[in-house]
């Protein structure tokens, strides 16, 4: 088994708010992230796939195809967007780094043909990142 990781970057804005919480509760739980006008990050995405090396191509996965899938499924939807308002998953789910990693996994898992998705890692900043391995 060989693991291959492809990186991408996207920039987006978001805010944290749970409509079931009172305004005080929202401010207490989410702090500065509760500002309804949003704030932004430069996210770094790392997608790791795993598989056997194809003896003919020497590839685990065709990197060109992986790059295209990441662009089509993730970057076109999330780059330079206000996540809460423009990305369907986050109309009713808080766009935390955890939930972004899960949403990206769900977008990618079904689209990968030859290799299997192993890990989605999303860096919100260089000092904060989330890994999702598809665990329930």
């Amino acid at each position: 088994m060989v693991y291959l990781t492809r990186k991408a970057e996207f920039s987006a804005s978001h805010y944290y708010h749970n409509p079931d919480f009172t305004p005080e509760e929202n401010r207490r739980v989410f702090g500065k992230c509760n500002n309804p006008n949003g704030h932004g990050h430069n996210y770094t995405l790392e997608v790791t796939v795993k598989g056997q090396v194809d003896p003919r191509s020497g590839f685990v996965v065709d990197l060109k195809q992986l790059k295209e899938i990441m662009h089509r499924e993730v970057l076109d939807a999330m780059d330079h967007r206000f996540l809460n308002k423009e990305v369907p998953e986050f109309l009713h789910r808080i766009p935390t780094t955890e939930n972004i990693a899960i949403a990206i996994w769900q977008r990618l898992a079904a689209k990968l043909a030859s290799a299997k998705l192993h890990r989605v890692r999303v860096y919100e900043t260089p000092d904060l990142f989330v890994d999702f391995f598809g665990e329930l």
């Binding site: 944290y16 702090g31 904060l128």
Partner: protein, 148 residues
């Protein structure tokens, strides 16, 4: 759904690697420059990884403010700008980054209960890093398959 959250923190401290169990010559040959009696320092980076189900109400594994507060109080305030050799935990033990990594893991494991501690990774310099994931035979992030 279960996710892993990692957070990185910086602190600076000094230490000297010297073992009472070794002769002067053995200390010098084992620890080299790190045996300099006056000590030397590093900018350490701690990477703490916790895991757990993502809370439906908050979208979080654990509240970052709470994790940051805990690490600030219990780890950074304890080790930041200190000479590690003067601290109680290193009175009998050599303050290598291996041992410091284990100490930090134990502090978080004992005191932070909002999420499961997966591992602590400690970078001594950009070239050297150490990971500890508890007593069980586990190599932390080198376990490529989660749950094993």
């Amino acid at each position: 759904m279960k996710a892993h959250l990692s957070r990185r923190y910086l602190f600076s401290a000094s230490h000297r690697l010297h073992s009472e169990a070794m002769s002067e010559d053995e200390n010098k040959s084992t620890y080299g420059k790190c045996n300099n009696p006056y000590g030397h320092g590093h900018n350490y980076t701690i990477e703490v990884t916790v895991s757990g189900p993502v809370d439906d109400k908050t979208g979080m594994v654990c509240n970052l403010v709470d994790l940051d507060g805990f690490i600030e109080r219990e780890v950074l305030a304890r080790y930041g700008h200190e000479n590690l050799n003067t601290l109680r935990e290193f009175s009998q033990e050599v303050p290598t980054t291996e041992n410091l990594c284990i100490q930090i893991y134990e502090i978080v494991q004992r005191g932070f209960h909002e999420a499961h501690l997966e591992r602590v990774r400690l970078e001594e310099t950009m070239m050297n890093s150490f990971e500890y994931a508890g007593r069980a035979e586990s190599a932390g992030s080198f376990d490529r398959e989660p749950g094993q």
